[in-house]
């Protein structure tokens, strides 16, 4: 079981929860478990071809999955997956 940290802009789609537990052996599976539990998050995380949207950064613990194996990056029990969108508020 991994913990997914939900950014403020997606919390309306997770019933306000800042963190959601999700199962999966890799980052893609964990995010799919999240979208299965909270379907409104799907269109904001994934594009029409099922690829991760370019404007969504995803980290496994403190490392960007783009420099790991992307959605194939293996997830261990107790890992944290951080979803991070850019923010422009000043």
């Amino acid at each position: 079981m991994a913990t997914v940290r939900i950014p403020p802009v997606l919390r309306a789609q997770t019933g306000g929860q800042p963190e959601v537990d999700a199962d999966g052996s890799n980052v893609g599976e964990v995010l799919r478990a999240l979208t299965a539990a909270h379907p409104d998050t799907e269109s904001q995380l994934f594009g029409p071809e099922g690829e991760l949207n370019r404007y969504v950064n995803v980290y496994l613990n403190d490392e960007d999955v783009r420099v790991l194996d992307g959605l194939e990056t293996a997830v261990s029990d107790g890992d944290t997956v951080v979803i991070l969108p850019a923010m422009a508020g000043g």
Binding site: P8, P18, G89, G90
Partner: protein, 386 residues
């Protein structure tokens, strides 16, 4: 005061020129028995500061060898004489006090290490900085000579500007085309109720001038765009990004990479904040972190979503901290690191940010920009809308 004169005879007093000869010859421990602020203004080279009140505690570290020749000085010769008596009582065998102190020394044209370049008022104002070994007089002079541009004189810019001004950053440029609104005052502490309707750059300048007359405030009452950004950024050493929109953030990144200017970038929304420091080609840039801006529904503004007022202060002061480190060349700036702050849980999270080998702006395959094209940028409003 016969007794005083009698006591005085017990301590050897030497003239400044004699002290200078001995110091020149070496093998002398030189002790400055004044207060820290006096020491900072001017002291003898290699003079070790041991304030009178701390003599008992600190002399052993400053002068460990009680048989060594030890010369004490102060401002005019009185405090050093008394300190010499104390040292003698502690068992120091070869102590002398310099008659007339550093005043007489300077009158004879002998050299001192002085806090040159700072006025007496500045030495007083910045004494808590100059006391820090990592800052010192040299560091304070760096701050007084630094030019920092704040993009946005709003939520983030307000606390950043206040503290940078207090710290003595010599030139503060402020970019903002907005006027003060009542809804700003819950977090934009550089403005106030009387200034509602006044341009933000002007309101900020008035506050800064009242706080610290050393600071030269340059108002840029405009919105940064492709036609003006290169000219404006060129004038500054460090850029602080507190913009409230994506087009400005991407434009600022691309221009600062071209001009090789470091950018301290933060953003806030509701109870969350992010901050990183982008130093072109030394670490990643904003585009390495965020290759494309999010669509509008995932990028709400503070005016649409709200923001806890203290988020501006928390993240703005983290930005000010980064700026001071860059100016002073000390510590470890947030290069290649993204720091997240969540106010509700009071949790900081640090994420790694890597240079993107495919970055179109700072990557190895990014096109070289000729001098004549430096000010030409694509249309960021369209890019961010799409």
């Amino acid at each position: 005061m016969a007794t005083g004169a009698q006591t005085k005879q017990q301590i050897e007093e030497i003239e400044p020129f004699e002290a200078a000869q001995e110091i020149e010859g070496g093998d002398v421990v030189l002790i400055d028995t004044r207060e820290p602020h006096e020491y900072q203004e001017a002291h003898l080279e290699n003079g070790k500061l041991v304030p009178p009140g701390l003599l008992g505690d600190e002399i052993a570290a400053a002068a460990p060898d009680k048989s060594a020749r030890t010369i004490l000085y102060c401002r005019s010769g009185n405090r050093s004489y008394k300190a010499a008596e104390q040292l003698q009582a502690l068992g120091y065998e070869d102590v002398a006090s310099m008659a007339g102190g550093i005043l007489a020394w300077q009158e004879q044209g002998l050299p001192v290490v002085a806090a040159s370049g700072m006025t007496p008022e500045q030495r007083d104002r910045y004494s808590r900085h100059t006391l820090l070994p990592e800052v010192g007089v040299d560091g304070q002079l760096k701050m007084l000579n630094a030019k920092v541009l704040l993009v946005g004189a709003g939520g983030l810019g307000a606390p950043t500007a206040l503290y940078l001004a207090a710290a003595g950053i010599g030139t503060l440029g402020l970019v903002d085309d907005d006027v003060v609104d009542a809804s700003n005052l819950q977090r934009q502490v550089i403005h106030n109720t009387e200034r509602i309707g006044v341009p933000k750059t002007e309101s900020a300048r008035l506050t800064i001038e009242a706080l610290n007359p050393d600071v030269n405030v340059v108002e840029h009452r405009l919105r940064l765009d492709a036609t003006n950004i290169v000219e404006i950024l060129s004038e500054y050493d460090v850029i602080v990004d507190g913009a409230d929109n994506f087009p400005t953030r991407y434009l600022l990144n691309d221009a600062s990479v071209r001009l090789r200017k470091p950018v301290v970038s933060a953003s806030i929304l509701s109870f969350d904040g992010q901050i990183s420091t982008f130093v072109p080609f030394e670490g990643p840039c904003y585009r390495c972190l965020y290759p494309t801006p999010p669509p509008a529904e995932l990028a709400p503004s503070c005016s649409a979503n709200g923001v806890l007022g203290v988020m501006a202060g928390t993240m703005g002061l983290l930005q000010a901290n980064e700026v001071l480190k860059l100016v002073l060349g000390i510590g470890e700036p947030l290069i290649g690191r993204l720091l997240l702050f969540e106010a509700l849980s009071t949790r900081f999270t640090e994420l790694k940010v890597r240079r993107d080998p495919a970055c179109p702006i700072c990557g190895p395959d990014a096109p070289e920009i000729p001098e004549s094209e430096l000010g030409k940028f694509p249309d960021y409003e369209l890019f961010c809308a799409g």
